[in-house]
Amino acid sequence: MEVFSHYELVIVGAGAAGMAAAVSAGKKGIKKILIVDRNEHSGGILRQCIHDGFGLHLLQVSMTGPEYAEYWQAKMGGCGAEISLSTTILDIDYEKKPYRLTFLNEEYGYGVCEADAIILACGCRERTLGQMRIPGSRPAGVYTAGTAQYMMNVRNLLPGRTAVILGSGDIGLIMARRFTLEGIKVRLILGEAASGLARNHIQCVKDFGIPIRFGYTVLSIHGYRRLKGVTIAPLDAGGMPRIEEKEYIQCDTLLVAAGLIPETELWSLPDNPLSEVGGILTDAEGRTSQPGVFACGNVTKIFDLVDKVSLAGEKAGIAAYDYLYARNKNPAPNHKNDAFFERREPTYEALAALGENEMICTRCPRGCILHIAKHTGNGRGYDVSGEGCKKGMEAALEELTMPKRILTTTVKVEEGRSILIPVRSENPVPKGLLRAAVKECNRCILKAPVSRGQVVLGNVAGSGVDMIASGTVEKI
């Protein structure tokens, strides 16, 4: 097998972790970097996550997934890394020095490249129904959340018409909103335990009045051809279903949002140490047990926020530089960002604990608890206290009088490299207009090229707000 090229550093995966690793490694001074991804685009899963909330912690701006991806793509463009897309790494030979990576793509076919150092940023895959060992038939219409998200947001495929969502984590909640906005009736979200961020519970579930139950699981799947329904049951204290309380719910789609599993396939060492959560074991800087091999992002453990993934990627890039260039190959750990990784946003628990006249401010991740009192004397109708900043006060008043949301959806594109473009409202749109706004977007057809920030639909649903492209689609 011929060796095509030699690199100082090969990064496997150009998602959030890999892109950040490439940027920091390049900035530090590694010259010959290759970043490889099996998809046609860099950005990984971010491209299908058209909702907003990315970058809130790291960049203090709420971006959509495609915007966050393009932010990093732009940074990566300036760091000198060579990028190879639609390329699958089949195998890594850790015995050879330099390491040898076998790859496959349309351009070269089957080939080999060499690397002095490797960063594994392969992300994760989804837990499937099969792994949950739920009995029943195997009809069409059972999808993992990410599959349905990719179908709807990237491939313009409608997975079904009525759905039950198994999994009440953020991915399940976000898909519940996405389904609802596109006309798929969500009959129920159910989860074994209460989870998910408070802001997602407010904006994805409460806003649309979607039923949600905790302490429940799917007992069985029904349907011979296409899914007909599911049987659900509450769980007892020991986690066993209480079969006598089972219920049947009719649906043609079951969305499984039951967690993520690190994709560690390429970490194929004979006694490969995996962490308790099934990820590649690393130290805080991303160093694995193998000299010169680093790992970052969801391949090490499942992160709750992409911002942390980016930071972990940056750290791995720096560690790779230290390995290749620094005299001290294993410098003392850098604790600068430790606090960042510990950050938590208010979750459902905080929401459930709210008193009668309290609300959580979702304007920023701090999640201040605001106390509301009716007050007619000041012209605003309410007295708000407990806000951490002036914006919090405004947010509370807006939420009480005229709640507004950023709308994210997609619009059809012709003659482009993609058939859909992610779009967002430039400013928040009154909550009551969201569905009408999506309908208007669905009637709109654009012609490529469309670039990020471009207004695609003015004054959507008479809201006075413009819909803008939140990604870029080039002409074929």
Binding site: Y110, G130, P135, Y143, L157
Partner: protein
């Protein structure tokens, strides 16, 4: 007018089709599903039984031993992966050792070669991880594992290349004896044939009932399985059966030819062949038996569970029950109650069916141009470097990985679509290439395969089915 119409494209129907394609005959296979092997064949454990389970001297026993042996040549001709890894039939108690003695005697009567009764320690040295409670085992080296999908596909493709016509989505609703020939009525119109082969599996008794009073009652019996992720360190090295104690059902542990550990099947009577769902009780039973045999088994490695239904003759006493290959009427042969080990017995049963046709007057005149070799269809990444280079120059899309777990490229998918008997459904693709059968269970590749099928078959995505009529995968476009 066909010489022979075969009703049912499972493993037996396809094996008979291939056998008949050796002769100057005009043969058709009528299959109600969208693909071959959609009945009991699909949910087979992939084990080539040695032949010590069935009653001594029964058709089941003899066909099993002979078929097992015949597969050596068939697999060579058709390039089917097969490995004779041997089996251990393990006993945990006195009762179990008595059953071993019985099985040994049955095996001897059926002609099973080279069986050995070994003690628990010998068994454990052959199969690390085997329960310390195993006291004795029957070792049968001729037990094998086979690529079931590959076998039926190559068998049917080979038959097709030798002139057999396959009709899918074609369900037989009646057969009329016209005196000189039969008229077979289907949802796609009528077919005339001089001879009928009835290998309709679950429908075999009702098909026979079109021409003679029904005497056998065939009921579905469900079997459930667990599939584990491919093991890096080969956990199971042999097919392991347990000599069941009272009130236990038999389950086995085996390796699939692709390296997945498979546990099952259960055995329970169900009301319909469509009741192929798994149940909590069934899966718990499998886990219990699997753990009894291999206490260290990691259930966290389970990636899927599935169930199938086999045909069980329910109105014949257990000790008299056997496979039935018989003349049902003039110029008509039926195969009834062919459950496990029907796949193992298929080559022998096929010859038996052809013999009956010959006795009925079918003239078997060997064809000079019969091609024994099936189309060669290695997936791209299993090809030699030279072959890979050649394919890459023909189509760059061999470089585009679609199913990341099983490493299936777009080129592989297009190649399969251009083969004889191309897949029409997602499951058809899965059966041919294992696309979607890996650890992500199709999470990543399903939408892409829907699009490729839609593009290549020139139909809308909502017309792409999972397996059967009504199993649409998507409901159209979002916008």
């Amino acid at each position: 007018m066909y010489d022979v119409a075969i009703i049912g494209g499972g493993i037996l129907g396809c094996t008979i089709a291939r056998e008949l394609s050796r002769y100057h005959l005009h043969v058709t296979v009528l299959e109600k599903a969208y693909d071959i092997g959609e009945g009991a064949t699909k949910t087979n454990s992939g084990v080539l039984a040695a032949g010590f389970h069935p009653r001594g001297g029964s058709l089941k026993g003899i066909s099993c031993v002979k078929g097992n042996d015949m597969y050596r040549q068939i697999c060579e001709e058709l390039d089917i992966p097969v490995r004779f890894i041997g089996s251990l039939y393990v006993a945990f108690s006195r009762n179990g050792t008595e059953m071993i003695a019985q099985k040994y005697n049955k095996g001897i009567k059926n002609g099973v070669q080279r069986m050995e009764i070994i003690d628990g320690d010998q068994a454990r040295s052959m199969q690390p991880g085997l329960s310390p409670k195993v006291i004795q085992a029957l070792y049968a080296p001729t037990t094998g594992i086979i690529d079931v999908f590959g076998l039926i596909l190559r068998t049917a493709q080979n038959a097709s290349e030798n002139g057999v016509e396959f009709h899918f989505d074609t369900e037989v609703s009646d057969i009329i004896d016209e005196g000189r020939h039969y008229t077979v009525h289907t949802n796609k119109g009528t077919v005339q044939a001089e001879y009928i082969v009835n290998t309709a599996g679950e429908e075999a008794a009702s098909i026979e009932g079109f021409l003679r009073p029904a005497d056998l009652v065939i009921r579905p019996r469900r079997g459930q399985f667990y599939v584990f992720d491919k093991q890096t360190d080969s956990v199971v090295r042999h097919v392991i059966y347990q000599a069941q104690d009272m009130d236990e059902k038999g389950c086995l542990l085996t390796l699939s030819i692709d390296g997945n550990l498979i546990a099952g099947p259960t055995s329970e009577n169900v009301s319909s062949y469509k009741r192929v769902e798994t149940t909590r009780e069934g899966l718990e039973l499998i886990e219990q038996v699997a753990r009894k045999i291999m206490p260290g088994l990691d259930m966290g490695k389970v990636i899927a569970s599935f169930a199938g239904a086999r045909t069980n003759i329910s109105n014949v006493a257990k000790e008299e029950k056997d496979f039935v290959i018989r003349k049902s009427a003039r110029n008509m042969v039926s195969a009834l109650g062919i459950k496990n080990p029907g796949l193992t017995g298929a080559p022998y049963l096929a010859l038996k069916a052809v013999d009956i046709l010959r006795e009925e007057g079918l003239i078997l005149e060997a064809k000079a141009g019969f091609n024994t070799q099936a189309v060669s269809g290695k997936k791209f990444l299993d090809c030699s470097v030279a072959e890979q280079k050649k394919r890459m120059t023909e189509d760059r899309r061999y470089g585009n990985v679609i199913c990341r777990c099983e490493k299936i490229t777009e080129g592989d998918i297009l190649r399969v679509l251009s083969e004889p008997l191309p897949p029409r459904t997602l499951n058809g693709m899965k059966k041919r290439l294992r696309a979607g059968m890996g650890r992500c269970q199709g999470s990543f590749c399903t939408p892409r395969i829907i699009e490729i099928l839609s593009r290549e078959m020139k139909v809308k995505p909502e017309k792409i089915l999972k397996n059967t009529q009504g199993s649409s995968l998507v409901k159209g476009r979002v916008k």
